[in-house]
Symmetry: C2
Subunit: 345 residues, 2 copies
DNA sequence: TTGAAAGCGGTACCAG
DNA sequence: CTGGTACCGCTTTCAA
């Protein structure tokens, strides 16, 4: 039976140039849109005859039909999109791997993971832009999202908001990734090795305060109530700055330094060595993040290895929360830290 | 005037828990949905009285109304979403900065940038998942997208497909980011400095072939027709592997090595030095990507600095192509490379 | 200046 | 087993 289009002569001159819809597939297969939907979604509540299924599949393939996610989620009233704001600063291999793991784990649970490039600084206004996409879950690394932002997301249908930062936010699940454990480990390690005048490098680069402040704080905590002192050392990520700091090193009277991460450690350690300061005899140096390259320094760099939650764990937490949103926001302390003692401390 | 809901008693028991729509705003403001749309979009073709505008804005704010992007783009027939597949491997600070720049530039042109976490390896099936989102443009770094994938995207409404890779793909704009210029620069530099037996490190890590193969090829090209030889040196990113390679270094009889990038350079250089091989006297070492840390090595690491296109340029190209899709796919050679000669070569 | 109504592409009821 | 149809939330004519 030949299908006759309902509209006798559609004004569109070149139908080939437009995007195929399920109606086009239905027309070509000689069935209704409903049937197309049933077939392509393998709807179990409905049995479609094998010949029909084949015709639909063939028509879909021939037209290069791809379903329209927006239309689908509009109708469904919800999506399976997990939204993660894209980081605005260069991110280390650690976080990179974590993100890839997480994406794969979520993809395995049939979520669509999307990193949204935010215009302004991650803030409550950014939350509005995210909310427009009606994600089912939002994972926000770092701080910067306030209770208002969380509220906006929740009001627009997000069933889960998870913050991966140093603090708990009202209304959101929190994966407390408080970097203070890093500083704490480093501080304790240095104290145990007899160091008492501890410097802590704080990067000048913007966007890193989120991590550097808690790390500094962790060192402070670790020596609280002892006779050890903690000195904050602002440092920009370039050789001259490091050289300047090294030049006045002896006047600072420090016997140890925790450098925020391995990159700053390598930068500073090189400058110290060039200045004739012996490591670790005169000054112990501890970095963080366990970069491969730290092992190449002489002396080999001691470092604090951060243990991020594995992607699958987090993915399952998200999935659980999506399915049973009644649960109160949970707070988990997710971060572990281990000192890898090598030669520089 | 009190508004009376059209439906006498809607079955929804808790309307407070559902997402506010423009209809809710209209109801609260005592106007029609059309008016709400006009006000919130500042539609210039229609003049709305000031009191009405205020009422609408207040209602929207009170309800915490956020427009539904899917519904909007469904109605409009197009979106302003630019889709970029998320990289699946740890990415350097260089590319990281490039991406951030690009995102900002596109955001300034009022596009929504979204990185899509692909399940499988970037391929033509992944293109289907991207196409479901109906992005107006797709930027694909690396290779892995074939002509079929491009066709799928185009058929589902993408007005621009740009590949940022080593090769041109049928139907897509190509920003030829052929990393061969990196290898070429390094090879030429080494040849100029009298080196004739050149090794090239090729990382064993998966996902890096996209870059390593062209870089190797570039070195080959640079010495074609001369008496110089090029030797491929597979290397995993760990200390033992580097030590093993260094142990048999003298038997290889090489007087120079280009190491893919600075990280591998540092790894290998350390191993060579530990083996007692003098750099650069016996063997010259050149890395790539100009990492800060390379400067800290002794001898300071020579490197090839890659010049990525600036984000704004690319954003404008995309914007132009979106607005005038009639244009033939263009092919641009976007990559420059400069040798930074320091002490290791 | 404002409102009614027709869709955009899919899904899921209910009837046949 | 399949077709008709009423939506999902929003924009945009066309009338009033």
């Amino acid at each position: 039976m030949v299908q006759i289009p309902k509209t006798p002569a559609p004004p569109s001159p070149a139908p080939s140039r437009s995007v195929p819809t399920s109606a086009d597939v239905a027309r070509l297969a000689g069935v209704s849109r409903a049937t197309v939907s049933y077939v392509l979604n393998n709807t179990s509540a409905v049995r479609i005859s094998e010949p029909t299924r084949r015709r639909v599949h063939e028509a879909a393939k021939e037209l290069g039909y791809v379903p329209h996610a927006a239309a689908r989620s509009l109708r469904a009233g919800h999506s399976r999109m997990v939204l993660i704001p894209a980081p605005t600063f260069p991110v280390g291999p650690l976080y990179s791997r974590f993100l890839t793991d997480l994406q794969n784990a979520l993809a395995a649970l049939d979520y669509t993971v999307v990193q949204h490039g935010t215009g302004g600084p991650h803030g409550d206004e950014a939350a509005r832009a995210w909310a427009e996409l009606r994600p089912v879950a939002v994972l926000v690394p770092g701080s910067g999202l306030g209770p208002r932002g969380v509220a906006v997301l929740k009001r627009s249908g997000a069933r889960v908001v998870v913050t991966l930062g140093p603090e708990t936010i009202e209304g959101a699940h929190a994966l407390l990734m408080d970097h203070d454990v890093v500083g704490h480990s480093a501080g304790a390690h240095l104290y145990d090795r007899g160091r008492r005048r501890i410097g802590v490098v704080v990067p000048q680069e913007p966007g890193l305060e989120t991590f550097s402040a808690p790390r500094l704080d962790g060192v402070r905590q670790s020596v609280r109530g002892t006779d050890a002192t903690v000195t904050e050392l602002p440092l920009a990520y370039d050789e001259q700055a490091a050289a300047r700091l090294a030049a006045r090193w002896r006047s600072l009277g420090l016997d140890a330094v925790f450098t925020y991460n391995d990159e700053y450690a390598m930068l500073l350690m090189r400058a110290l060595l060039d200045e004739g300061i012996r490591v670790p005899e005169e000054t112990a140096v501890v970095g963080a993040d366990d970069l491969m390259l730290g092992r190449l320094m002489r002396p080999r760099l001691s470092t604090v290895r951060l243990e991020l939650p594995c992607g699958r764990e987090l993915a399952e937490l998200v999935d659980r929360a999506v399915r049973k949103p009644a649960t109160e926001p949970e707070t988990h302390k997710m971060l572990g830290a281990t000192v890898l003692h090598r030669e520089s401390s």
